[in-house]
């Protein structure tokens, strides 16, 4: 036994790295990437429309490095009636917005929260793995537990 650390994730990165994590999270949760830059198409006409609810969740401890992205750039993923939009707000924070017709705010908040957590997990996984390889660690074992935790066992020899 040596040391046990508990760390809270901080997401400070450029837009491409965040986009990669968004795609990973979307894939894991069954979402489909709709488009890189949203082009909002409004449906009008005689069709009866259900009220569209919208909820926004800010990714805590996040910062999207501004040189890589315009403030209006966003990535959109969809699953059924739920649409998740990941974007950078004016303060540079990463914001997850969930909207959908015929869904309650509670349902949307839950979806946004779930997506935020998965996005954080994917981002940290990508970053940790990249850094471990740079430090010449070899992966001994890697698994996803029943609780959806990712477990990585790594090793290296040092003089």
């Amino acid at each position: 036994m040596s040391t046990v650390l508990i760390l809270a994730p901080v997401i400070i990165s450029n837009w491409p790295a965040i986009t990669a994590a968004v795609v990973g999270a979307a894939s894991a949760l069954g979402f489909v990437t709709k488009q890189a830059v949203e082009q909002e198409v409004r449906q009008t006409g005689g069709q009866e429309q259900k009220a569209e609810q919208e909820i926004e969740v800010e990714l805590p401890e996040s910062q999207v490095l501004s040189e890589q992205v315009a403030t209006d750039q966003q990535i959109v993923v969809t699953k059924g009636a739920i649409q998740i939009i990941v974007k950078r707000d004016e303060r540079g924070r990463c914001v997850i917005c969930a909207k959908g017709k015929g869904l309650s705010k509670t349902e949307l908040k839950q979806a946004a929260q779930q997506f935020t957590e998965k996005l954080t997990q994917c981002f940290i996984y990508d970053k940790v793995l990249k850094q471990l390889k740079q430090k010449n660690f070899q992966i001994v074992n890697e698994e996803v537990t029943e609780n959806d935790d990712i477990r990585i066992h790594v090793r290296r020899w040092e003089e």
Partner: protein, 73 residues
């Protein structure tokens, strides 16, 4: 040669638990600092018995050799 191991658990909420094994003393703290830079803030840290074990050092006793050389002259 020392074998350094890490067991990293990334929870579904993104919280990270790391168990560093084999690294003693300062080396262990260096890993902790590196992880802090990579993933985020340290919420909790527990040092276990291995941390307090002395680091292995090799040393050549030059005094003995020098004395022996000067005695011979």
């Amino acid at each position: 040669m020392e074998q350094h191991e890490m067991e990293i658990t990334i929870s579904k909420t993104g919280e990270i638990k790391v168990h560093i094994k084999g690294a003693k003393g300062k080396r262990c703290l260096q890993y902790a600092e590196w992880l802090k830079q990579v993933v985020g803030k340290i919420k909790d840290q527990k040092l276990t018995s291995e941390y307090y074990e002395p680091e292995v050092k090799s040393r050549i006793n030059l005094d003995v050799d020098l004395k022996t050389d000067s005695d011979q002259q």
